[in-house]
C-alpha cells in the first residue's frame, strides 16, 4: 500500500513536468484559459459569496454569545471575525468547498474525455494533452486568491451585518475590532497558502481524471477519490505552512 501511494505521488510530480513540455500554440491556449477562468472562477463566485456571508455572520454571533463577561471588550466580535475569516475560513475552509465544486468538475470533465478516447485523440494528433488540459486550469487558478479575497471581505461584511442588525454590538465597536492589531503578515500568509491550495485544486483533480481507467461509473468514483485526496492535501499543507510561517 505504501509503495502504491509513493508511486502515485511520484507520478503526480512527473505530471507537473509533462504539463510544461511542448506547449500548445498561444492562439489556442488563450481561448482555453478564458474558458477555464469562466468555468472555475467566475462560476464559483455565487457559492463563495453565499457561504462566506452567512458563515461570517455565524462566527460573529457565536463570538458575541460567548462574551458574557463584561470585562471582555466589545470590539472582540469584529476582531475575532476578521481573524478567523482571513486566517482560516476564507483560505482553508473555502478551499475544501472548492475541492468539492471545482475538483469534481475537473475530474469528471477530464475523466470523461479519457473514457471516450478524446485524450487518445489529442495524443494521436500530436497534442501534449496534459499541457492542453491542465495548463489552462493552473493559470485560471492563479486567480483563485482573488476569489478568496472576496470570501474574506464578504465574511467580515456578513459578521458586521449580523452583529449590528442582530443587536449584538455597535457598528463602531465592530469596526474598532477590525482595525485592532492588524498584522499585514497574516494577510500575506493567508494569500500565500491560498495560492498554493489553488495549485493543488488545479492539479490533483486533473491527475485523478487524467489517469483514470474504466468507464462512466469509474468517472464518478474518480471524482470522489479526487475530493478526498485534494482535501487531505490541503489540510496537511495548511498545517505545515502554519507551522512554518506563523510560529517562531
Amino acid at each position: 500500500m505504501l509503495i502504491r501511494y509513493t508511486s502515485q505521488i511520484g507520478k503526480y510530480f512527473l505530471m507537473w513536468k509533462e504539463i510544461f513540455k511542448k506547449p500548445t500554440k498561444w492562439s489556442v491556449m488563450k481561448g482555453l484559459i478564458f474558458k477555464e477562468v469562466d468555468d472555475l472562477i467566475i462560476d464559483s463566485l455565487g457559492i463563495v459569496a453565499f457561504i462566506s456571508f452567512f458563515v461570517g455572520g455565524v462566527v460573529a454571533i457565536q463570538t458575541a454569545l460567548n462574551l458574557t463577561n463584561s470585562f471582555i471588550p466589545k470590539y472582540l466580535i469584529g476582531f475575532a471575525t476578521r481573524q478567523s475569516m482571513i486566517l482560516e475560513f476564507a483560505p482553508t475552509f473555502m478551499s475544501i468547498v472548492m475541492a468539492g465544486k471545482m475538483g469534481s468538475f475537473i475530474t469528471s470533465s477530464i475523466g470523461s474525455m479519457r473514457v471516450t478516447e478524446q485524450i487518445d485523440a489529442l495524443e494521436v494528433m500530436g497534442v501534449n494533452s496534459l499541457n492542453y488540459l491542465v495548463f489552462p486550469k493552473i493559470i485560471a487558478l492563479m486567480l483563485y486568491p482573488f476569489l478568496v479575497g472576496i470570501s474574506m471581505f464578504l465574511g467580515i461584511f456578513g459578521g458586521y451585518v449580523a452583529t449590528v442588525y442582530g443587536g449584538f454590538g455597535a457598528s463602531t465597536d465592530f469596526i474598532e475590532g477590525l482595525q485592532r492589531d492588524f498584522n499585514t503578515f497574516h494577510v500575506f500568509y493567508a494569500f500565500l497558502k491560498t495560492f498554493i491550495f489553488g495549485m493543488f485544486l488545479a492539479t490533483i483533480p486533473s491527475f485523478h481524471g487524467f489517469y483514470m481507467k474504466g468507464g462512466a461509473l469509474e468517472v464518478g468514483k474518480a471524482s470522489t477519490v479526487s475530493f478526498v485526496w485534494t482535501s487531505v492535501t490541503i489540510i496537511l499543507m495548511n498545517y505545515i505552512l502554519t507551522q512554518l510561517l506563523l510560529t517562531q
Binding site: T24, V28, T116, E117, Q118, D120, A121, M125, G126, V127
Partner: protein, 253 residues
C-alpha cells in the same frame, strides 16, 4: 506501406500480442478481424504509438518507429488520421471546430483557409449543414462522418479505424465502410480497419488479417476467405448463420 515485424505487447504480465507480423499496403483497405478481446485495438494503438510493443518493429514506409527521435515520431503522427471506436469527438466543440482542430493546432493557415478545407472534407463525407451543431446533437452515423472528416482533414498518409461501424444500423454501417474504402483509394492512403463484422469483411476487405489468441491465425483477401480450409477462420465465419449459408453456396458454385 506499413510493415509490422514480430511485435509483442503485454499488460501486467499477460501477453496480448504474441509476435504478430503483417504488411499493410497503400491504397488498400486492410482489415484486422477477430473476436472481441483478441487484441485488435491493442495492435492499432501500437501502430499509433499509444502502446509501445516490448518486442518487434513497426515501420512506416521504411521509417522504423522505435528508432526515430521525438521530432521524427511527431512527424509521423501528423501523417496519421485516426477514427476511434466511439468517434472521440471533442464534445465542447462544434462539428466545424472538431474538423478544423488539427489544422488550427498544427498549421499557420488563416481561419478562412481552414474554413474552406473544413467545408471541403465535410462535403466529402456527405455531411452538409451540420457545421454549427455539437456532437451531442447529431446521430451516431453523423458523428462517424465528422470523425472521418477530422481524420482526413490533414491529408494523412495513414488512416486507422477502430470498429468504424460499431453501434450503427446495417445501412449506415455499409455507407461508412464504403466511404472509408473510397477515400482510401482516392487519396492512396494506407488504411487499417479493425472489425469483427463479416459484412465489412465482404464489402471492403482488400486484405484481411485474422487475429486469434494474440497471433496472426490467417491472412488473405475477402475472396479467399470462402475458399480456405483454415480451421480458425472457418470457425469465425461460421459463427454467423448467414455466412455459413453463403459460404456453402459459394463452395458449390
Amino acid at each position: 506501406m506499413i510493415e509490422i515485424k514480430n511485435i509483442e505487447k503485454s499488460f501486467g504480465g499477460v501477453k496480448i500480442l504474441k509476435g504478430v507480423s503483417c504488411v499493410f499496403e497503400a491504397g488498400k483497405t486492410n482489415l484486422i478481424i477477430g473476436q472481441s478481446g483478441s487484441g485488435k485495438t491493442v495492435l492499432l494503438k501500437s501502430l499509433l504509438g499509444i502502446h509501445t510493443p516490448e518486442v518487434g518493429t513497426i515501420s512506416f514506409d521504411g521509417r522504423i518507429y522505435s528508432e526515430l527521435n521525438t521530432d521524427e515520431k511527431r512527424e509521423i503522427r501528423t501523417e496519421i488520421g485516426m477514427l476511434f471506436q466511439g468517434s472521440a469527438l471533442f464534445d465542447s466543440m462544434t462539428v466545424a471546430e472538431n474538423v478544423g482542430f488539427p489544422l488550427k493546432m498544427f498549421t499557420n493557415d488563416s481561419n478562412e483557409k481552414i474554413q474552406k478545407r473544413v467545408d471541403f472534407v465535410l462535403k466529402r463525407v456527405n455531411l452538409i449543414g451540420a457545421h454549427k451543431k455539437l456532437p451531442s446533437e447529431i446521430s451516431g452515423g453523423m458523428q462517424k462522418r465528422v470523425a472521418i472528416a477530422r481524420a482526413i482533414v490533414n491529408n494523412p498518409k495513414y488512416l486507422f479505424c477502430d470498429e468504424p461501424n460499431s453501434g450503427l444500423d446495417p445501412n449506415t454501417a455499409i455507407l461508412i465502410d464504403n466511404l472509408i474504402k473510397e477515400i482510401t483509394e482516392e487519396y492512396n492512403i494506407t488504411t487499417v480497419v479493425n472489425t469483427h463484422d463479416m459484412n465489412s469483411v465482404m464489402e471492403i476487405g482488400d486484405k484481411i488479417t485474422f487475429l486469434k489468441n494474440g497471433l496472426k491465425a490467417w491472412e488473405g483477401t475477402n475472396e479467399d476467405i470462402f475458399l480456405t480450409d483454415n480451421e480458425a477462420i472457418v470457425e469465425f465465419v461460421y459463427s454467423s448463420n448467414l455466412f455459413k449459408k453463403v459460404r456453402e453456396a459459394y463452395l458449390k458454385g
